[in-house]
């Protein structure tokens, strides 16, 4: 994906295979994308399309089976090194489940203190409490009320804000958000997305936004990559891809997005199940050749 600045994090033809022999699953097939400062890349696709595998490779939870991961242009080195510790600090994650991702036995202040002690040795003593307050204010929570509380005393939206504050505590350069709003109520989703976006702008973060909801992808991200069966089938500028989709799978996905302007009874609005199956079958095949639809908009040939 093109960007104005040099990329912070790049996946270069990364593949990931689980298992071996005939039962092996190729969860990611030759994935390439870059994250840039102050920009968001949305990876959209249905469950099982490989989007979380991409997130986990970026988090270095999985080692790629093939391909390279580049951080600021340099290939990632082995675990245990100084560069590795730097990478762990610089790339932070926000998880899908706001209920499971905080420890029920610890206060919110404790959750924020840990990354500060681990990644910010410059902050000591009383400054830690001050920094915790500043972090909570940043995510628009009242530190005096929230800091001494336990996770169960907070709502889902508040917990997700704590998760964002925890990620920010390490002073990251990249944030990987895997479906950060899919378990939240509709009325608080936008608040969390707006906050993520604001943080991205203010702190010049590169944001990898994993979602199945293409409408929020458009709302949040400058760039988009549509995944199906482990491949990125279409990518580029979010507006261009959504307004002028070229890949049959992207078209199928867009046609199925709930749209209050189109009633199911409208014969022009029908999504044919047999055509959908055919599109899925064709899209699952390996597609090598890449075509430029327009500047900053690419598609794999089916």
């Amino acid at each position: 994906m093109t960007g104005t600045s040099a990329p912070i994090l790049t996946l270069d033809k990364v593949s990931k295979t689980f298992g071996n022999g005939p039962g092996a699953v190729r969860a990611a097939r030759s994935i390439s994308f870059s994250l840039h400062t102050g920009r968001a890349l949305a990876v959209v696709g249905e469950s099982g399309s490989g989007k979380t595998t991409c997130a986990r490779i970026a988090m270095r939870e999985y080692e790629p089976s093939e391909g390279r991961l580049l951080f600021k242009g340099k290939p990632i080195v082995s675990a245990g090194s100084k560069e590795n510790a730097h990478y762990r600090r610089s790339v932070q994650m926000i998880f899908q489940d706001p209920f499971a991702s905080l420890n029920p036995a610890h206060t919110i202040a404790y959750h924020l203190k840990r990354p500060l002690m681990l990644h910010r040795p410059d902050i000591k003593g009383a400054a830690i409490a001050e920094e915790i307050k500043a972090l909570l204010r940043q995510v628009k929570l009242d530190p005096d009320i929230v800091a001494p509380k336990y996770p169960h005393e907070l709502s889902g939206g508040q917990r997700q804000r704590v998760n964002i504050a925890r990620a920010l505590a390490a002073k990251p350069e990249v944030i990987v958000a895997d479906e950060p709003t899919s378990m939240l109520d509709v009325s608080v989703r936008l608040g969390v997305l707006n906050l993520l976006s604001e943080m991205k702008r203010e702190m010049n973060l590169g944001l990898l936004y994993i979602t199945h909801d293409i409408a929020t992808a458009r709302y949040v991200a400058e760039d988009i990559a549509v995944m199906y069966a482990g491949q990125i089938v279409e990518w580029g500028n979010t507006g261009k891809v959504i307004d002028n989709p070229a890949h049959p799978y992207t078209k199928l996905l867009l046609s199925a997005v709930p749209d209050p302007d189109i009633r199911f009874d409208d014969p022009n609005a029908q999504v044919s199940a047999s055509e959908a199956d055919e599109t899925r079958r064709r899209s699952a095949a390996t597609q090598e050749s890449i075509r430029e639809v327009e500047p900053d908009h690419f598609v794999r040939a089916v």
Partner: protein, 267 residues
Amino acid sequence: MTAPLLSVKNLTIDYIGETNDFRAVDDVSFDVAPGEVFGLAGESGCGKSTIAFAISRLHRPPALIRKESAILLDGRNVLDLDHKGLADFRWREVAMVFQSAMNSLNPVLRIEQQFYDVLKTHKGISRAAARDRTAEMLRLVDISPDRMRDYPHQFSGGMRQRIVIAICLALDPRLIVMDEPTTALDVVVQREILQRINELRRKLGFAVLFITHDLGLMVQFCDRIGIMLAGKLVEQGTADTIYRTPEHDYTKKLWASFPSLHGGVLR
């Protein structure tokens, strides 16, 4: 409007607590006409699922339906049914599809057997007749009848959800209550299933009470919509009215919380 099929009147449900009671549903009234799709929208905890459970009489203590409430199906009060009446009423009159219904199939029984269980219990029909009916129902939801000897794990999530819907339809119910039936599924599969249900209700004439938090989807599918907030039905109207000219502030706010595919962006 013709006489309503389902008429919910002054429904009030409390969850009884040790010190104080929690009013989950507060004086809710609405009608569903035969063949109509009525939608209930609202956030988690607003009481929409509690209503769905009450209609099938599936609510359990500490949920308590207050005395002034009535749920009329064709004029008969569901709340007055005895054990026997209830057994006849469930599935035959009102069927229910839950959020993760694809997980409600028994993993160790063949699909055919699960249809047979329902058909034998309610209609007492023979294996051969049940097999014919199963084939017919599977065809309705675009699944090949050859697969009735398969086990649930051999089907995808969307197919399993369609099988559950087929089992629901096997007794020709007049109302299907669907509580977030497609929330766990992908958008394309969701669209395929709801489109199919829409065609089937035109053909077979059953009514649907459709519960979801996705307003966009609701407007596409429903004839009329009720918006719930903290146990109260704050607004109801045709899908078009709710979409184009919502009256209540909460409805307007709900709409504002959905980014549209062609609407404004943050950047």
